[in-house]
C-alpha cells in the first residue's frame, strides 16, 4: 500500500461512521481510528502511566521496564458516551487502583450502579496504605476508566458519573 492509498483510506474513514479500520496484508498492517469530539481523552493523556519523576536516567545501569503493556485502556475506548454533563471522579494520589476489596470479592461499583456521597467506589493502594475512595457526588456510574490493579497518577480520571 502506498502513501496515496493510505490518504484515500483516511478520507474514506473520515467521511464514514466507521470507528476504526484495520487492514493487514503480509507484513504490512495499518490501523485508522476516528477521533471523536468532546471525549475525555485529552485530559487523560496528560497523565502518562509512567511518571517522568520515576524514569531511570540513562546513565544508570538499570534498563527501564517496558511500560507499553500498561497503557491506559481508556485511550481506545469506542463506546459513544454523552460526556457533556458527566462528572469525573479522579484519583487523589499516585498508587495502584483496585475496583474490589479483595481478589474473591465483588467490585465496589459496576457500570449502571447508583451511587451517593459516601459510597466507596474503589481502593487506591499507595506505599502499602489502603485508601478507600468515597464518591462526593450522586449519580449513576457511566464508565470505569481504569483496569483493576493498574497504576494511576495523581488526578487521573477513574470513573465517569451521570449526575442524578
Amino acid at each position: 500500500m502506498d502513501y496515496k492509498q493510505i490518504q484515500e483510506l483516511i478520507k474514506l474513514v473520515n467521511k464514514s461512521n466507521i470507528g476504526e479500520l484495520s487492514i493487514e496484508e503480509k507484513d504490512f498492517k495499518i490501523l485508522i481510528k476516528q477521533k471523536r469530539d468532546k471525549v475525555y481523552q485529552p485530559e487523560i493523556q496528560q497523565f502518562p502511566v509512567q511518571a517522568p519523576l520515576y524514569v531511570q536516567p540513562q546513565a544508570a545501569a538499570l534498563p527501564q521496564p517496558v511500560a507499553a503493556a500498561t497503557a491506559p485502556a481508556q485511550q481506545t475506548a469506542t463506546a459513544p458516551l454523552k460526556t457533556d454533563n458527566l462528572i469525573t471522579i479522579k484519583s487523589p494520589m499516585i498508587g495502584t487502583f483496585y475496583k474490589r476489596p479483595g481478589p474473591d470479592k465483588p467490585n465496589f461499583v459496576e457500570v449502571g450502579d447508583e451511587i451517593a456521597p459516601g459510597k466507596v467506589v474503589c481502593i487506591i493502594e499507595a506505599m502499602k496504605l489502603f485508601n478507600e475512595i468515597e464518591s462526593e457526588v450522586s449519580g449513576k456510574i457511566a464508565k470505569i476508566l481504569v483496569e483493576d490493579a493498574s497504576p494511576v497518577e495523581f488526578d487521573q480520571p477513574l470513573f465517569l458519573v451521570e449526575p442524578a
Binding site: Q56, A59, L62, G95, E132
Partner: protein
C-alpha cells in the same frame, strides 16, 4: 467524626472483643455507623479473618498477641501526610519494644517492625478519602507478644517473649501502646514532620547497607540511603533515586 474529637486521648475508650473477623473491619464499621470516634481502640483476643497487607493472612494465636485497631481523626491533615502517619505508627511500636528490651528494633520499609532480623510486628493502615479530603484512618497493629510457636508458613517471625523470656498481659500492654501512639500522633498533629521523618530513618532496617532490589525483571544491588516523607525509599545504585513501594521489590 467530630472535629473536637481530635483531643480525645487514644485508648481512653478501649474495647475488648473476644472474637472478631478483623479488628480493622470492625473499627471501620463502627465509625461508619457513627459508633466510634478518634482515639477509640479495638482489641481482639481472636481474629478469624485477620488481614495483613492486601488480604495476606495475619496468623495469630488466641490471646497471645496484640491485635488492635485504632480510629484516628485525620481531617486536619493534608493527604500528602499519609506516610508520616504510617511512620508515627511504626515509631510507636518501636517505643513499646524499647520499653521492655534493649535489643535493637528496626523498621523495615515501609511498615514492618523487625528484631533480630525477624518480623515482630506489622501495620495495616486504611484511609477513608472523599475528594481530596482525608476523612479518617483506621490503623491496625499486629504485634507478636507471647507467641513462641509459629506456623511453618509464617515468614521469620519473632515475639517480645522470645526476646525477653517474659510473659506479658497483652491487654495492659496494648493500653500502654495506646499512650505511646497518642504521643506520636501529637507530634504529627503539631506538624513535627521532620522529627518523625528523622526518627523513622534513624531506626531504618539496613540503612546505609547494600540490599538487593527487583525493578521490573531486573535485580540490582543498591545502598539504602533513607526514606523520604512521601514514603519513597531512596536507593543508591550509582545514582540516588527514590522508589515507590510496589515499583520495586526488596529481596530478602
Amino acid at each position: 467524626m467530630s472535629a473536637a474529637s481530635i483531643n480525645n486521648v487514644i485508648g481512653k475508650r478501649f474495647i475488648e472483643l473476644l472474637s472478631v473477623d478483623s479488628t480493622n473491619n470492625y473499627a471501620m464499621q463502627q465509625v461508619q455507623n457513627s459508633n466510634a470516634d478518634h482515639g477509640d481502640a479495638f482489641f481482639a483476643f481472636e481474629q478469624t479473618a485477620g488481614r495483613g497487607q492486601f488480604n495476606r493472612q495475619w496468623l495469630s494465636a488466641k490471646g497471645e498477641n496484640i491485635m488492635l485497631s485504632v480510629v484516628l481523626n485525620t481531617r486536619e491533615l493534608a493527604l500528602n501526610k499519609q506516610f508520616l502517619l504510617n511512620m508515627a505508627c511504626a515509631l510507636s511500636i518501636l517505643d513499646l519494644f524499647n520499653k521492655y528490651t534493649t535489643e535493637k528494633i528496626k523498621i523495615k520499609w515501609p511498615n514492618d517492625i523487625y528484631c533480630r532480623d525477624r518480623k515482630a510486628a506489622g501495620i495495616l493502615v486504611e484511609n477513608m478519602i472523599r475528594g481530596k479530603n482525608w476523612q479518617f484512618a483506621i490503623a491496625g497493629f499486629g504485634i507478636n507478644i507471647n507467641q513462641t510457636e509459629f506456623p511453618a508458613a509464617a515468614k521469620r517471625p519473632v515475639s517480645l517473649k522470645q526476646v525477653t523470656g517474659e510473659t506479658y498481659n497483652t491487654v495492659e500492654l496494648a493500653k500502654e501502646f495506646c499512650v505511646m501512639l497518642n504521643e506520636r500522633m501529637r507530634w504529627l498533629y503539631a506538624g513535627h514532620d521532620h522529627e518523625i521523618l528523622n526518627d523513622y530513618n534513624r531506626h531504618l532496617y539496613s540503612l546505609n547497607e547494600t540490599e538487593n532490589f527487583k525493578y521490573g525483571s531486573v535485580v540490582f544491588p543498591a545502598i539504602i540511603k533513607g526514606v523520604n516523607e512521601s514514603g519513597n525509599i531512596v536507593l543508591d545504585s550509582g545514582i540516588e533515586k527514590p522508589y515507590r513501594s510496589g515499583e520495586i521489590e526488596w529481596l530478602v
